[in-house]
């Protein structure tokens, strides 16, 4: 595999050079052939789980009645469902600032993030505090049988 270098000036150096090149390249290639599986291995798989519209369980509906809000998983995301003046609202519960889970204060009709005092109104818009973006809206519907369904709002 080693080429016979016929350079008249310094055959030894150029051969050594070439060999070092080959050595370096093969080390890199070998490290890549180890790194590739390890990197693929370490990257987590996409979350699986139920997708699509989510029904609130009985416990969750009870909590909603009791506290005026409840945080439920929808397609792997945290969603805050709250009711104010007989109206149902649903937003992403992940604050757009640093990702803390927000809460709802019924008396004040704000969605509040305790981590850095960010506040959102009932349309999801930022009212005060550091959050840069409004909360993503979800659709909450009350079913004829009394159940509540949360689904991703169609644009």
């Amino acid at each position: 595999m080693e080429k016979q270098v016929e350079s008249a000036s310094s055959p030894l150096t150029s051969r050594r050079h070439f060999l070092d090149l080959v050595l370096g390249a093969s080390i890199l290639g070998w490290l890549a052939s180890i790194a590739y599986p390890v990197i693929r291995y370490l990257k987590p798989l996409p979350q699986t789980g139920p997708t699509g519209p989510t029904h609130l369980t009985r416990d969750e509906a009870a909590k909603l009645e009791q506290n005026q809000f409840v945080i439920v998983p929808v397609s792997g995301q945290r969603v805050i469902v709250l009711q104010s003046q007989d109206q149902l609202y649903a937003f992403s519960a992940k604050c757009t600032h640093e990702g803390c889970t927000v809460t709802y204060q019924p008396g004040q009709s704000v969605i509040w993030c305790p981590c850095h005092d960010g506040r959102f109104d009932l349309t999801g818009r930022v009212v005060s505090g550091p959050p840069p973006q409004p909360l993503v809206k979800y659709t909450a519907q009350r079913q004829p049988d009394g159940g509540i369904v949360i689904s991703v709002e169609k644009a």
Binding site: G29, W30, A32
Partner: protein
């Protein structure tokens, strides 16, 4: 004078002693029986029998003493045999109060025909005179002992009124009265419900309608079976008891005792005039049902009475066969009823299920039955009887091809899945699809009985889909394996290259 008195006194004493001894010899006591020894000096009553006796309660010991006092049991061998049964206290009490059984188990005073022994074969006594069976008998255990059928008074010494009515094993004696006799109790609901509320009480009525009953009671043919032919006479056990002659697993041999015996069955014919066969038992033993019942012990499998009835024992006519099969195979039956075959079979007056599957020799079904080549079931029948319906041949071919394809796919994929699993690949999705394929295959084979394209297609379609999915998954797994091999080759190539470079560097540094 004095000498005379002494001599008389001695003579009297001698006479008195002899008389005493003689009296003692004629009246054995319990203790003398228990300690009696044989001519070699060994005790006749064994250690185990003695231990059993010692463990009896006072009441039973008293009863034993009584039967010895009354001289019903006079010999240590007889006592030993009774003790060796090692009966539970209740049964022992029943036995000890039953003079009939006690007397009739004494081999010294009974003729072989009248003797109850522990093992009839070796004792030369008839098979139904088994003492062990007697004490297990369900009648005996509820208190209906010998006198209940034979009459007489078991507490008295002697009672033999009914004996003359009971023939020996000679089958030519009149036995038609037996059914009515048993029915005295067994057809009386009020009486039977005192013992077992779940027992039916219509056996006699059914028996009278059956061929067995007709043969016995109308035609007065004494070859016909009576109650005791199937249930036994002295060792009658409930049908759920595995030792009972009418326990599910033993029913075939009980029926076969007559029905497989060509001598007994001579002269009987089928409705069409041909001789009644005697091959049913042999065929049943080889059949799916027979092997399930007799070899695997599956009590859900049918015995003779599940299809033919037990007391009613009707031979299946055309209509009743499909009804008895449909008890278990309901889906197949309802599909068949909705199919074209039903009308066709009825027109030809063919038995529905058994025309294709047989009746006693029902073998495991085979996909080749479906084909239309000569020698196959569907093909031959249709060519002979339905040659004016060529579309049926096409349907049969369709059935056959679909099923054999699915079956072949299944076996191929199972092998492939095992191989892939060995190679370390994830075969769970493949196995899930294979389960669906297996289910669809089973359903398709059932839906053949609709004999129609559309319902079968509905059953087979998920299977074909599953087969397709499985093929895709197997292919995917094979690709993954190839990918691994390629990856290995690449990494080996790089490692090899690196090794070569290191080696050359080494050479370079050392020269």
């Amino acid at each position: 004078m004095r000498t005379g008195f002494v001599i008389t006194g001695l003579v009297l004493a001698a006479v008195g002693l002899a008389a005493n001894r003689g009296l003692a010899e004629t009246k054995p006591t319990l203790s003398s029986l228990l300690t009696a020894k044989d001519k070699d000096g060994k005790p006749i009553i064994t250690q185990e029998e003695r231990t059993y006796f010692d463990g009896l309660n006072e009441n039973l010991k008293g009863l034993v003493n009584e039967v010895v006092q009354k001289q019903i049991v006079t010999r240590p061998e007889h006592l030993g045999m009774l003790l060796s049964l090692e009966l539970r206290p209740q049964k022992m009490e029943l036995l000890l109060k039953n003079n009939c059984a006690l007397c009739h188990s004494d081999s010294e005073i009974q003729t072989p025909e009248d003797l109850f022994s522990l093992s009839p074969k070796t004792a030369g006594t008839p098979g139904h005179m088994n003492l062990k069976d007697l004490v297990d008998d369900v009648h005996f255990q509820v208190g209906l002992s010998c006198a209940g059928c034979h009459g007489g008074d078991p507490t008295a010494d002697f009672g033999h009124e009914f004996v003359k009515q009971w023939p020996e094993k000679d089958r030519t004696k009149k036995r038609a009265w037996v059914a009515e006799f048993c029915a005295r109790c067994h057809s009386d609901p009020a009486l039977m419900h005192q013992f077992n509320a779940a027992l039916p009480t219509d056996q006699l009525a059914k028996f009278k309608e059956s061929p067995h009953g007709q043969l016995l009671l109308v035609k007065h043919d004494d070859r016909a079976p009576t109650c005791i032919s199937c249930h036994g006479v002295h060792g009658i056990r409930p049908a759920k008891d595995p030792q009972s002659k009418v326990f599910a697993q033993r029913v075939p041999e009980t029926c076969g005792a007559c029905h497989s015996n060509a001598q007994i069955m001579t002269g009987f014919t089928l409705p069409d005039g041909s001789a009644l066969p005697t091959t049913q038992l042999a065929e049943f033993k080889k059949s799916v049902h027979g092997r399930a019942l007799l070899e695997r012990g599956d009590l859900g499998a049918p015995a003779c009475n599940d299809c033919h009835g037990n007391h009613a024992a009707l031979p299946p006519g055309v209509a009743s066969v499909s009804r008895s099969c449909s008890i278990c195979h309901s889906t197949n039956a309802s599909l068949f009823d909705g199919s074209k075959h039903k009308q066709a079979f009825n027109e030809h007056n063919w038995a529905e299920c058994s025309k294709c599957h047989g009746n006693h020799a029902i073998a495991k079904t085979n996909d080749s039955m479906l084909s239309t080549k000569s020698g196959s079931l569907c093909g031959d029948c249709h060519r002979q009887f339905a040659s004016n319906h060529p579309e049926c041949i096409e349907t049969a071919n369709y059935f056959h091809d679909t099923i054999t394809q699915m079956d072949k796919a299944r076996t191929t994929f199972i092998t492939a899945s095992e191989k892939l699993a060995q190679r370390g690949l994830d075969v769970e999705p493949i196995d899930n699809q294979l389960n669906e394929l297996t289910d669809a295959l089973k359903k398709s084979r059932t839906y053949i009985h609709s004999f129609s394209h559309a319902p079968f297609q509905q059953a087979a379609a998920p299977g074909q889909e599953a087969a397709k999915q499985t093929r895709a998954l197997v292919e995917k797994a094979r690709q993954e394996y190839k990918y691994r091999q390629v990856g290995l080759a690449v990494s080996i190539a790089w490692i090899g290259l690196l090794m070569l470079a290191v080696y050359l560097k080494l050479r370079q540094l050392e020269t």
